[in-house]
């Protein structure tokens, strides 16, 4: 494989050479972009699935989509959004940014990094292969239809005939292995490759949060992988891990899945926290409030999040003492999360706010994530959970956390770092349209779900009877979904237009302070001609304000 594509001369290369360069790249920036492109592709796929779900629920007794197809749609939507949209996007941001932020040339294991991306991509392909092979080979099923957490015994051969569940298991398993390689790489990079002088307490908060995030991945993903292999053994080798009739335990799957599943929420949220911690100070023209407490709160969230998984299982009928413990632990996690909210608010306070598009998304994140957090505290209360579990209230809650939280922040990150990655600015006008349509559409879509849920509408029903008071709220939600769809359409138009004819960004369009803004836009493959030496948390501030550098105070 004497391939020597340098990645620098691709601008004038023929298409095949360019594609070859992308396929063989081990450059962390290109791999980051590949992750983000993969995420955006699956965002469209998962978004279309969501629109179909909302169309079906537009009116009572709708027959647009049958129950089996509906089951497949919500399964694929959930699985896609979590494993193949948010995860690759956060991996993409981390891949692109962490080496630049800590002042090194690449990640610790560049080839392993490439392997991680391709495993993630092929995992997604395996999942969607189910649509094309399930029927053909077995005449049964098609896409998996067991929900994104695939509870036993629904996944047993008796209930899930055909291969659809296998594609769910294998697709997420393969991508999960890719995620593990990403985490190993990230930890090694952050711990061993920081620029000279950059202590661990001086790395940007995004890096801090990705370090904890990678640690969580290392702890949380292997139990899922193990559980998936056990499930495969159940399905293919006659094992009975989750078969209650043969001495197995269906609850064991829930424990193993949620031991992964709840940290996974924070695995998806921490990068968002990191992005917000970079955007808010720059657009408030202030240093982040409480760097140390932010880092400590991140570590606390990482630790506590490993001990709250059974709050997803309050309705299973566990021992009351277990319920009380997991309820208390879930309350406890509100403390470090609250510290972060207070710190971001304190950073905004007294700042010279610049309401550019990244900041709009950051502020949107703050409001939406707060609502998601508050409903999370409600759901951590056992009796409340018993009342609204598996209702649309729950669906509203986790979308406020994962969409209003993670995805709003990731969108803000796109606007913030797009100039660095491409050398072009995204249009502020289209960006504002994108934000407001997304903000209005999001609240119109998921806000009413709280009410529908409290009124008793269960999640995952493919239709409902008229006269239960749910019609209006469902119609509002469907309208909101399409407004959001228009918002995303504008985002994609903005990406294409700005790439083709966007305003030139320059090296440091936001007058920011972290190291990635010290190199060219886009950066050369080696990032920096000379590896910088760092003396404070804001190395560019030190250079821009030599009369008042941060290093004198840290």
């Amino acid at each position: 494989m004497a391939i020597a594509e340098t990645g620098q001369s691709s601008a004038a290369s023929p298409l095949v050479t360019q594609l070859h360069g992308w396929v063989t790249t081990v450059d962390h920036k290109r791999i980051g972009i590949l992750y983000i492109l993969m995420s955006l592709f699956f965002l469209v796929v998962g978004g279309v699935e969501a629109l179909l779900i909302r169309l079906q629920l537009w009116v009572p007794n709708n027959t647009l989509i049958g129950p089996d197809t509906f089951n497949q749609l919500f399964t694929m939507h959930g699985t896609t959004m979590i494993f193949f949209v948010v995860m690759p996007m956060l991996s993409g941001f981390a891949n692109y940014l962490v080496p630049l932020m800590i002042g090194c040339r690449d990640v610790a294991f560049p080839r392993l990094n490439a392997l991680g991306f391709w495993l993630a991509l092929f995992g997604g392909c395996i999942l969607y292969t189910s649509y094309f092979t399930g029927d053909a080979l077995y005449g049964l099923g098609s896409a998996p239809d067991v929900g994104w957490f695939a509870y036993a015994p629904l996944t047993s051969p008796a209930y899930a005939r055909g291969g659809s569940v296998d594609y769910w298991i294998l697709g997420t398993l393969v991508s999960g292995v890719g995620t593990l390689t990403f985490a190993v790489n990230l930890i090694a990079t952050i711990l061993t490759m920081r620029a000279p002088g950059m202590k661990l307490n001086q790395v940007p908060l995004f890096v801090w949060m990705m370090l904890v995030d990678a640690g969580l991945i290392i702890v949380a993903f292997p139990p899922l992988t193990a559980a998936q292999i056990m499930l495969l053994l159940d399905r293919y080798a006659g094992a009975h891990f989750f078969d209650t009739q043969a001495g197995g335990s269906a609850i064991l799957w829930q424990h193993l899945f949620w031991f992964f599943g709840h940290p996974e929420v924070y695995i998806m949220a921490l990068p968002a926290f990191g992005i917000i911690s970079e955007i808010v100070p720059v657009f408030s023209r202030k240093v982040i409030f409480g760097y140390a407490s932010m880092a400590a709160a991140t570590a606390a969230i990482g630790f506590i999040s490993l001990g709250v998984w059974a709050h997803h299982m309050f309705t299973v009928g566990l021992d009351d003492r277990l319920d009380a413990f997991f309820s208390a632990a879930s309350f406890l996690i509100a403390v470090p999360t609250g510290i972060k909210i207070f710190n971001w608010t304190a950073t905004l306070y007294g700042g010279r706010l610049q309401l550019r598009t990244p900041m709009l998304f950051a502020l949107g994140f703050l409001g939406m994530f707060l609502i998601g957090g508050l409903t999370g505290i409600m759901l951590a209360t056992v009796p409340v959970d018993w009342q609204v579990s598996d209702s649309y209230f729950l669906v509203a809650h986790f979308h406020y956390v994962l969409f209003g939280g993670s995805l709003f922040a990731l969108m803000g990150g796109c606007y913030y770092w797009f100039p660095k990655a491409t050398g072009k600015m995204l249009s502020e006008t289209l960006g504002a349209w994108h934000f407001w349509l997304l903000f209005v559409g999001f609240n119109l879509l998921f806000g009413p779900m709280h009410i529908a849920g409290i009124m008793g509408m269960p999640r995952r029903v493919y239709t409902y009877e008229a006269g239960q008071g749910w019609d209006f709220w469902n119609q509002l939600s469907t309208i909101g979904a399409f407004i959001m769809g228009i918002g995303f359409l504008i985002f994609f138009i903005n990406l294409v237009l700005s790439l083709r004819s966007g305003q030139k960004a320059g090296d440091d369009p936001w007058d920011a302070w972290t190291l990635e803004w010290a190199t060219s836009s886009p950066p050369a493959s080696y990032n920096f001609e000379q590896i910088p030496t760092v003396r404070s948390r804001r190395p560019l501030w030190d250079l821009k304000h030599p009369e008042d550098p941060d290093w004198k105070y840290e």
Partner: protein
């Protein structure tokens, strides 16, 4: 990057930097893994082919690492495509605000004040609780047993009369629980009080006990069902106020120390500062 503080290593003279060589082996390896997986629900032939691809890819990958092909010399980009030097900014610098070289409050109570306050408040609270036991006619050990019931489940089956009997285990558990909780609450208030406006005694002696009592009232059924059944709420709230007032007074009477860090740590310029 020429203006950013550079590390002591000399800049590259040959205008090229060694970087990992692009390679397709990771993609090939991943495709092998994917084929192996696809073979499980479809046909094992796919898995066998996938395994072959995996081994081929590993062989190619490791082989590349063992030769000079592992790295490639990347020429530096043309000077016009490099980053512009970072110049000193003429933009106005915001005066320090909270969080930026300015810590609020300026003066705080030492941690020891919170600890002392918590222990003193806890002692007074214990006296009030003991008085309740005596005045209610249920005896000295009754309030201690109620507290220990949070940890000792066998008290759940006891009657009020049995709860009045002495139990060494309950005494030890109750004392430890009470001491630790008092100490932690005192520490918490000791840290928090200087950040609150107006009178610390008001926050410690009025607001704190009210919030604490309301919280306990809400959770008592879960935390300690036995106490929830037998507790006298007027006495309970009175003991909370006794704790809060004494703790607040002890904390307030302690001498504050400075938490201000406005002055720079060093005026010395770094050796490798801006070129």
């Amino acid at each position: 990057m020429s203006d950013l503080s550079a590390n002591p290593d000399p800049p590259p003279h040959d205008e090229a930097i060694a970087m990992p060589r692009p390679t397709a082996w990771p993609m090939v390896l991943a495709s092998g893994v994917g084929l192996m997986a696809i073979g499980i629900p479809t046909n094992l032939i796919f898995s066998i082919v996938g395994l072959g691809i995996v081994f081929t890819a590993l062989f190619g990958w490791f082989g590349q690492l063992l030769t000079d092909e592992a790295e490639v010399e990347e020429p530096l980009v043309a000077p016009e495509r490099r980053a512009r030097p970072i110049r000193p900014s003429h933009k106005r610098v915001l005066s320090p605000t909270p969080g930026q070289r300015l810590e609020l409050p300026e003066k705080v109570h030492p941690y020891s004040a919170g600890v002392k306050g918590g222990l003193a408040g806890g002692a007074v609270m214990a006296i009030v609780a003991t008085l309740y036991g005596l005045f209610s006619g249920r005896g000295l050990w009754y309030p201690i047993n109620l507290l220990a019931a949070m940890i000792l489940p066998h008290f759940a089956d006891d009657t009020a009369v049995e709860l009045s009997q002495f139990s060494l285990t309950a005494l030890l558990v109750g004392v430890v629980l009470h001491t630790v909780t008092s100490l932690l609450v005192g520490l918490f208030f000791g840290v928090l009080l200087p950040t609150l406006p107006s009178s610390p005694v008001f926050w410690g002696g009025v607001v704190g006990p009210l919030l604490w009592s309301a919280g306990i009232y809400s959770f008592m059924g879960v935390l300690n069902p036995v106490m929830s059944d037998y507790v006298s709420w007027p006495w309970f709230i009175a003991s909370q106020f006794a704790f809060g007032i004494v703790m607040g007074l002890v904390v307030v009477r302690s001498e504050k120390i400075s938490a201000l860090r406005l002055s720079p740590t060093s005026e010395e310029e770094p050796h490798d500062a801006n070129s």
